[in-house]
Amino acid sequence: MSDTPVDAEEVRHVAELARVNLDEDEVEEFATQFADILDYFDALDEVPEVDAEPDLVNVMRSDEVRDCLDQSEALENASDAEDGFFKGPRVS
């Protein structure tokens, strides 16, 4: 088990940060699931250390313009669009 069990308050906070509405049943359900997921991470402690590959550094590209997508390609996956913009709900 993880050291600190996940309580309902924490689930609500994370959901709020992700702008996701959860009802009370879902909060309970996710609290249990979060705890399970954190347990999986504990399994990583059991993995033996291996020699790491040397890290890459300074991977860069030159400042040269490449082709972009055109507007219709850019919007192809959008669920809604208007006048070439992505369209979404109010976000205050």
Partner: protein, 496 residues
């Protein structure tokens, strides 16, 4: 802040700035999309899978953005980190298609610098805490109302991924005026570095932290202890977009906080939004705390080790140094040197002209005449960049005496700016070529012949008489003779 009411003059202002500047590169920071925003461009026409945050797309860092950051570090006398890396800042808002912003967190590329500013003759060093690279978000339009009441949101990702540098100062400002001076100076330096375009919309965005501390806790050198700072409640003012705006927003906030404290109320620690049109700051609903951003390493970008670039990458002579050199090398006064170094383009042009002609003549023509006439027309040197050789030619015409100073200023320069004509064309068209000596000699003889009364007055010792005769000669030569020369010629002739 203690609840004890302090009178307004017992309070000292403390301000720190976070300045976001867009770096002038050709492409975005993590992809090859162009950063060149046409004024009337269509939305979402400069995007790709990387800056749209499509699954599986991988960022690759733009070397040009790193070079620009190193230049900033060098200009601010900052250290360039031996080892620097990127982090993800997680927040859910549609200006970021990935739901996180790639930025720098615990290892910024630049740290511990300074920038010297001068306010009302007093020089002050403003400390730079850090300067880091990050990506600009996209832009939103709230349709059908204000941000709170809109029906829906439209999103344009053309700006998303533009390289930004966030420059964070120490809480070293003691007045709103100082912030304005600092921002103007910072813009000047960044323009000299050739990595910033102040005319680009949104190229400079500022957040300011401001608080009041008891004046007695401020040392004679302006130093304030960490303890005093920690005790004061501060507000963060967002949405400032110019140096003038910074001064106005912070002056408003100084008054608001001082009023609250002098009435015995505490200043609430909060984020406030500068409403430029109303000239006030308004409370914003509190956003996430730092831990809510859940920063973690950006595993798709390997770390950077570019401390040695500081030696390799050259930066041009900066404005302060250039001003000083102009005074020494060309013997200019402080005001001319300051005008002539106001932008790199003006300074470069001045040096070009000063090398070919007399530095004083060049200073008068560039600082007073050209900049003066441009200013009168609400124009910038950048509006005439492509015609600078024509102005050089104009100075040449004056220097070699082909036209008079008066005609050069009043006819040729104005014609060049108003009608876009070349100087030689204006001289030919208006017949301004300086009168040749024969013509002047004839005019002098005629003037003496035709005005015996004036000649008599001259011999009687009336000083005004010669001025009258000069006027006659100028009229005869259509203003193309040099009045000083004419005066001398008349006296010589009359004294014979």
């Amino acid at each position: 802040m203690t609840a004890k009411a302090l009178s307004q003059r017992d309070l000292a202002t403390v301000i720190g700035l976070e300045v976001h500047v867009q770096l002038e590169t050709d492409t975005k920071i993590f992809c090859g999309c162009s950063t060149d925003a046409a004024e009337d461009e269509e939305p979402n026409t400069r995007t790709c899978p990387v800056c749209l945050g499509l699954p599986g797309a991988l960022p690759v860092l733009n070397e040009g953005a790193v070079e620009a950051a190193v230049k900033v570090g060098k200009a601010l006398n900052a250290t360039v980190a031996e080892h620097t890396r990127f982090h993800r800042k997680n927040y859910y808002y549609p200006d970021l298609p990935k739901n996180f912003q790639i930025t720098q967190y615990d290892a910024p590329i630049c740290a511990e610098g300074t920038l010297e500013v001068s306010v009302e003759g007093e020089r002050r060093d403003i400390g730079i805490e850090r300067a880091h690279l990050e990506e600009d978000p996209g832009s939103l339009q709230h349709k059908g109302g204000s941000i709170d009441t809109a029906d829906y949101t439209l999103v344009n990702y053309n700006r998303a991924g533009t390289p930004l540098m966030e420059i964070v100062t120490k809480p070293d400002f003691r007045s709103p005026q100082e912030t304005r001076a600092f921002l103007a100076k910072l813009e000047e330096v960044l323009e000299y570095l050739g990595i910033f375009d102040a005319t680009r919309d949104g190229s400079l965005r500022i957040d300011a932290n401001i608080s009041m501390v008891p004046a007695e806790n401020v040392g004679d050198d302006g130093a304030i202890s960490d303890e005093t700072l920690a005790e004061a409640n501060r507000t963060e003012v967002k949405n400032i977009s110019s140096h003038k705006g910074a001064e106005k927003a912070l002056a408003y906030e100084v008054t608001r906080q001082k009023n609250a404290i002098s009435r015995g109320r505490a200043v609430e620690q909060e984020t406030r939004h500068w409403d430029e049109s109303r000239g006030i700051t308004v409370s914003m609903r509190s956003k996430e705390e730092e831990k809510d951003y859940r920063y973690f390493r950006e595993a798709d970008l390997p770390p950077l080790e570019v401390a040695d670039w500081k030696e390799k990458i050259a930066i041009p002579e900066l404005p302060d140094a250039r001003r000083e050199r102009f005074r020494e090398e060309y013997g200019l006064d402080a005001e001319s040197a300051s005008k002539l170094t106001s932008t790199k383009e003006v300074a470069d042009f001045y040096e070009d002209v000063a090398e070919q002609f007399d530095p004083d003549l060049a200073a008068t023509w560039v600082a007073d005449n050209l900049l003066g006439e441009l200013n009168y027309r609400d124009m910038q040197i950048t509006d005439v960049s492509h015609r600078l050789d024509e102005f050089t030619r104009l100075v040449e015409l004056v220097a070699e005496g082909s036209i008079t100073t008066k005609n050069a200023e009043e006819v040729v320069l104005r014609g060049m700016l108003d009608d876009g004509d070349a100087p030689d064309d204006i001289v030919d068209r208006e017949g301004l070529g300086a009168a040749d000596d024969d013509e002047v000699v004839t005019a002098v003889a005629e003037a003496i012949e035709e005005n015996p009364d004036a000649v008599e007055d001259y011999h009687a010792g009336e000083g005004g008489a010669v001025n009258f005769l000069v006027g006659q000669v100028m009229q005869k030569t259509g203003g193309s003779a040099d009045p000083g020369d004419v005066n001398q010629m008349l006296r010589e002739k009359l004294d014979e």
